[in-house]
């Protein structure tokens, strides 16, 4: 049988239908397709895919198990390295990670590693197997994890498995961090996936305290000195949204992507008034930015009833930081990409509402410090986009609360917490940090990788402390 150069397609909801509902877009492989896709794996002698995975999942092994139809074995293999496989199978930018290094990608399409991961993770979840609680030693050391996003969850899960008593403190009323407030239902179902993954970590014996704002309700020092925690992991994530600083950002109808998505995902404003939090989307929406969050905001706006949604991005398609699949899905749904354009002013009417957005065309010049070609404005090319809602999605800065309330915790000039890349150790003994609060906004899987590294380093630290 000749090897197909293409991945097996994953069924998706019809774009015309899904643009008006919040149900998941991608539907996942069935068993036969999964096995057939696994058959494409050549099992290279020196597999390259693993080195592209931030948590080093043993990819050839789990794919091998799928070939043998040992699906339980496959998920076990993944779970050795990845605490949230059903999440990663959905939201990892595989094309820049594992799949990028797949030997098949040289000639055609790589093995659908992400799709296979999702398949075995979903199959495992559907089985609803009992998670065995961990029996903690009476004198087990205690670790506090601040934030219940990807880094916190993976750190907590790993530490619990090592026998430490872990309490996760979450500021919001729901655990999951960006998985709950940021990534939309249609890309990452909340009840079916996120809630279950968190419940599984809870069942291990990890305690979750919600509504607990670290740095306000308690300080890091108090946790260690008064509440008996032997180590602390800070995984509080990305913080306040950045704005461009152009005129009109204070107008009504201007949202940060964080606010827009939080209203919709966490507060379920798409079910207003059954849920009490309101959200307003006009007929014509501009989303500024080209990352995953921008795609999420644009596609959410469409689902909330917007008639025309633009992505306004100052570089070209090649530089779009979003996952390829999200860009494709957005296009299929009718999102209008205004590439090589930059907003210069948001225009308002007399009542203080957005009435349009003035943009300028850009062209790519010499490479900048990020290695990407720097966009430069084309003089005299200003034009007006007729929109009534603007969603700003150009990144976030660090949340200042913990840095401000923790003496001895070094931060960078930008306000991110300084932590060692390998051990996640901060300048404060016993305090570790990882994820977006250290790196600035990045991906779910990188944060999970940091959580894992931190768990290993905390284990080492606590063992040496016990001696």
């Amino acid at each position: 049988m000749a090897l197909s150069l293409k991945k097996h397609e994953m069924p998706v909801q019809d774009p015309k239908v899904r643009a008006h509902n919040f149900d998941e877009v991608a539907l996942g492989y069935d068993e036969e397709t999964a096995v057939a896709e696994a058959e494409r794996c050549l099992h290279c002698k020196i597999p390259q895919c693993r080195k592209g995975c931030p948590v080093s999942v043993d990819i050839p092994e789990f794919i091998g198990k799928i070939k043998e139809r040992d699906f339980d074995g496959a998920i076990e293999k993944i779970k050795e390295a990845n605490a949230l496989p059903a999440v990663c199978g959905r939201v990892c930018p595989q094309e820049n990670q594992c799949e990028k290094y797949c030997v098949l990608a040289k000639k055609g399409e790589s093995v659908g590693i992400g799709r296979l991961e999702r398949f075995v993770a979903d199959r495992y979840m559907a089985k609803n197997e009992e998670v065995k609680p961990i029996e903690f030693a009476e004198d087990a050391q205690k670790v506090a994890v601040l934030g219940s996003g990807p880094s916190g969850l993976s750190c907590a899960g790993d530490l619990a498995k090592m026998g430490y008593k872990v309490t996760v403190f979450e500021a919001l009323h729901k655990a999951g961090g960006v998985l709950s407030y940021g990534i939309p239902e249609f890309r990452l179902p909340k009840d079916k996936v996120v809630k279950k993954e968190i419940e599984n970590i809870e069942k291990l014996g990890v305690k979750f305290e919600l509504d607990a704002v670290a740095g306000r309700l308690f300080t890091v020092d108090e946790l260690m000195e008064e509440e008996g925690f032997d180590a602390v992991f800070i995984g509080t994530g990305a913080g306040l949204p950045r704005f461009q600083g152009i005129p009109g950002e204070g107008l009504n109808g201007v949202y940060s992507a964080n606010e827009f998505l939080t209203r919709c995902n966490l507060m379920k404003a798409y079910k207003f008034p059954e849920y009490a939090t309101p959200i307003k989307v006009g007929k014509n929406v501009a989303v500024i930015g080209g990352g995953n969050v921008a795609m999420d905001a644009a596609r959410t706006a469409l689902r909330l009833g917007a008639e025309h949604v633009y992505i306004v991005y100052r570089r070209s398609e090649a530089e779009l930081p979003a996952r390829k699949e999200e860009v494709e899905h957005a296009k299929e749904e009718g999102i209008d990409f205004k590439l090589l354009n930059n907003p210069v002013e948001i225009l308002g009417n007399e009542e203080g509402w957005v009435s349009g957005m003035k943009c300028i065309r850009m062209e790519l010049g010499e490479p900048d410090e990020s290695g990407r070609r720097r966009p430069v404005p084309v003089e005299g090319s200003e034009f007006e986009l007729a929109v009534d809602t603007v969603i700003v999605s150009i990144g976030t800065g660090p949340n200042p609360i913990i840095a401000h309330t923790t003496p001895g915790l070094a931060t960078t000039k930008r306000g991110n917490i300084e932590a060692d890349e390998e051990s996640c150790a901060t300048s404060k003994p016993g305090v570790f940090a990882g994820g977006d609060i250290v790196t600035g906004a990045a991906t779910v899987i990188l944060a999970m990788g940091a959580g894992r590294k931190a768990a290993a380093a905390i284990d080492e630290y606590l063992k040496s402390k016990k001696k």
Binding site: V213, L240, N252, M267, T277, N399, P400
Partner: protein, 280 residues
Amino acid sequence: MFKILRKEELSPNVFSMDIDAPRVAKKAQAGQFIVLRVDEKGERIPLTIANFNRETGVVNIVFQVIGASTMALAAVEPGESIIDFVGPLGQPSEIKKFDGTVVVVGGGIGVAPTFPIARAMKEAGNKVIAIMGAKNKDILIMEDEMKEVTDEILITTDDGSRGIKGFVTYAVQELAERGEKIAQITAIGPVIMMKSVADCTRELGIHTVVSLNPIMVDGTGMCGGCRVQVGDETKFACVDGPEFDGHLVDFKALMSRQRMYRDLEAEEKDHICNIGLGRK
């Protein structure tokens, strides 16, 4: 879950509630706020803390019923619980011994959050004067409590039914005219009132702090909904505030932003009234 220990209707549609929240009470400081949610489908409502007692673990809030969410909150009875009560949030007021009198100005239910500030200012050794404004004498709140923690109170009513007839700024003027040496004024109330106080004190050259309660979702420094223009800078009320220099705040933009959801709020209120069962 957080239990409601006491509920009192201070004036029509204005409620005072004691909430059992020992950990919040332990850490609360004057000037900070909380975010609460009544039930699983509820909004996150930010409210400035009106009082707290570290010994009893009680936090007091005062709120006015203006939309569906505050209506749902007002319907919770003592002994029942609300699902979330998060705090203390925001920066505390700057409390120290000032060189001169400290004045707190509360308009309407804005009197409530001036209480812990007045008390802390008094405890720090300041002479404290409270100006309390209301539309009429019947809806004036917390007069006795304010008397206890201040050296003097001045009441203003729009209709003249108590105290000075007119706005709170009249009382500020009066203090200035009698030669009171004012080191700082903290004004809390409707945005238009805070703007008027700031305009008045700008001319008088008195440093003025205002406490803002803009649209907010998480309240912890994530969503960015609470951004306000303060001088040349965009600030976030939840982590940089809620208190800002009243002479630098762009009140016009703030007032405009407060209107963002007005029509939806009305729709939601109707929605609830029509079923007559609340949201549950």
